[in-house]
């Protein structure tokens, strides 16, 4: 083997794996936190809403649940507010929408919601216990829970109507089928 060929081979052995690692790294969002709970049972919670009503996830089994973590200081959360409210009105009682106030005070959240139209309850999460339990790494983050109580999808970022429909329509259908067939939840 000639000296030049040996140099080329040696350089390729060093450079190619390094380029591979760099390409892999640059192809990923460094801020993206992996979603570990998809396909697993949603962590249970019993929390009070801003209005003082108690919500127990166990009691919501049988219908799809949308958990939306948000805060008043989060501008993307405000951007998705209208889409979420529209979806909550559209699905009415077929889907349980719940907001979860994240790293914010109940008073500030109440003030914000007073100026907006909110058709679903918003939970108070003291010390972010529920957020940590769900692996929340920022807001807005939304979790879609199946009628059986399993997390089917986690969305980090702003939701839109199309996406909500694409995820919720099959879940609503699933809940209806289960109800008709009398399948255990």
């Amino acid at each position: 083997m000639s000296l030049r060929l040996r140099y080329a081979l040696f350089t390729a052995l060093l450079v190619v794996p390094l380029l591979g690692v760099l390409a892999l790294g640059f192809g990923q969002d460094p801020h993206a936190v992996p979603s570990m709970l998809e396909g697993h049972d949603a962590p249970p919670f019993v929390l009070k809403s801003l209005e003082g009503e108690t919500f127990d996830l166990q009691k919501l089994h049988g219908k799809p649940v949308v958990l939306n973590f948000w805060a008043t200081w989060c501008y993307p959360c405000k951007a998705e507010h209208a889409a979420l409210q529209a979806a909550a009105r559209h699905y009415s009682t077929a889907v349980q929408f719940l907001g979860v106030v994240y790293q914010d005070t109940p008073e500030t959240a109440k003030d914000y919601l007073r100026a907006q139209t909110s058709v679903f309850a918003n939970l108070v999460d003291p010390h972010a216990r529920m957020a940590i339990d769900y692996g929340v790494a920022g807001v807005p983050e939304s979790y879609f829970i199946s009628p059986q109580g399993r997390i089917v999808y986690k969305h980090a970022g702003v939701l839109d109507t199309m996406l909500l429909q694409r995820i919720l329509d099959p879940l609503v259908l699933q809940a209806e089928t289960m109800r008709k067939s009398g399948a255990p939840l």
Binding site: F10, L14, V15, L18, V33, P34, M36, L37, Q103, H127, A128, R129, A131, I132, D133, Y134, G135, V136, A137, G138
Partner: protein, 175 residues
């Protein structure tokens, strides 16, 4: 490659003090209440150094001033006080945030590459350097040049090179 290898090697080396800190943790006696409290606080401190703050830029939860990190530290403290082991608490966070939440990847499976490749690459580079410098027929080695100069009678390091000063002297002598 050398820079990235050094960075990774540094990461490996930084694990050593952590292991050294771990040792007394495991052997601490829970008999006395003060020793137990100190042991608990040390476990909280260690977990705070090991776990990444999810809302920060590569900061451990124990060092981050963010409210989320503070809440995570509070949860860790409660879990430790409730008697949960360090491994169980670590597993709780890994289950929710994935291995991403660990600032030092666990030495298992594919992760072994992170720990083995840098020293391997450094070793290979060292071997190559030694073999390159020790090659007898290396044309530009200092010894080879000096030997050639001695044979030809040239001034050291000037073998085969046109010397403008020498040429000028020769021209002057010819006059």
């Amino acid at each position: 490659m050398t820079v990235s290898a050094c960075v990774l090697l540094l990461g490996v080396l930084l694990r050593v003090p952590q292991a050294a800190i771990n040792a007394p943790t495991a052997s601490a006696s829970p008999a006395a209440p003060t020793a137990s409290a100190a042991h608990q606080e040390q476990t909280v401190y260690l977990l705070g150094k090991l776990l990444r703050c999810p809302v920060c830029q590569g900061m451990p939860v124990g060092e981050s001033p963010s409210p989320m990190a503070r809440d995570m530290m509070q949860l860790i403290r409660e879990k430790v006080a409730a008697g949960e082991s360090q491994d169980a608490i670590q597993a709780y966070f890994v289950q929710r945030y994935g291995e991403w939440v660990l600032l030092a990847p666990q030495a298992q499976g594919f992760n072994w590459l992170v720990y083995l490749l840098p020293p391997l690459a450094l070793g290979l580079c060292g071997l190559w350097t030694v073999s390159y410098l020790g090659r007898p027929g290396r044309s530009d080695s200092a010894e080879a040049v000096a030997a050639a100069d001695l044979q030809t009678g040239d001034a050291p390091g000037t073998q085969g090179l046109p010397d403008p000063y020498l040429e000028q002297i020769q021209r002057e002598l010819r006059k």
